[in-house]
Symmetry: C2
Subunit: 117 residues, 2 copies
């Protein structure tokens, strides 16, 4: 937040001088940007975005065995994508006997969503 960028006047400078005023960059934004970029990166694959979409629409836990046939991908690949989403803090999972259920973590997308608005 609060990036205060100074717009310098544009004239060709007389050789040796810097083009623009040195702009101070607040470190505050760094961490937030890193966090949000991590979430965005995890959503930056059509398969993962659709996985999240399905999980959200179901508003409950969905079994992996129901997710796999939705895509033209092998089970390990879907499992891999789910792992990426889990590591990004977007989804959580629970085991129940043989089955694994995934669900979207409620606040996971909040920060990015707020920034985008």
């Amino acid at each position: 937040m609060a990036i205060d960028l100074e717009l310098a006047p544009k004239v060709k400078r007389p050789a040796g001088e810097r083009c623009c005023e040195p702009v101070v960059y607040p470190e505050v934004e760094r961490d937030q940007a890193t966090r949000m970029a991590e979430v965005a990166k995890a959503l930056g694959d059509p398969v993962r975005l659709q996985l999240v979409d399905v999980l959200r629409k179901h508003a409950g836990k969905v079994c992996v065995c129901e997710l796999v046939p939705l895509f033209d991908l092998s089970q390990p690949t879907v499992s891999h994508h789910l792992k990426v989403l889990r590591q990004a803090g977007i989804v959580g999972s629970e085991r129940e006997g043989l089955w694994a259920y995934y669900y979207v973590l409620p606040d996971a997308l909040k920060e990015l969503s707020a920034w985008l608005n």
Copy 2:
């Protein structure tokens, strides 16, 4: 939109049978997911996310020469990131003499933003 996933009852099936009901997958979502994932992917780098952040906060055109010193990166690298953003349809650019100005395209983030809400 409108992914209608059927939740099948979970019982260990008697060998050879499929775990879940075959779930019909509407092709509609495919294209939308691809588009949104493309945008998300472009935002999935801290540098690019910060670039967009700066450009948005300025609500006008910002010169590349003011963007470069914001990051600990070479000018070609920043230029490369701007190109990625341009190809994702997130920013536009204009040349004015020696300088190049970038700005956020107003509707670029709308679809993703709406989906996230």
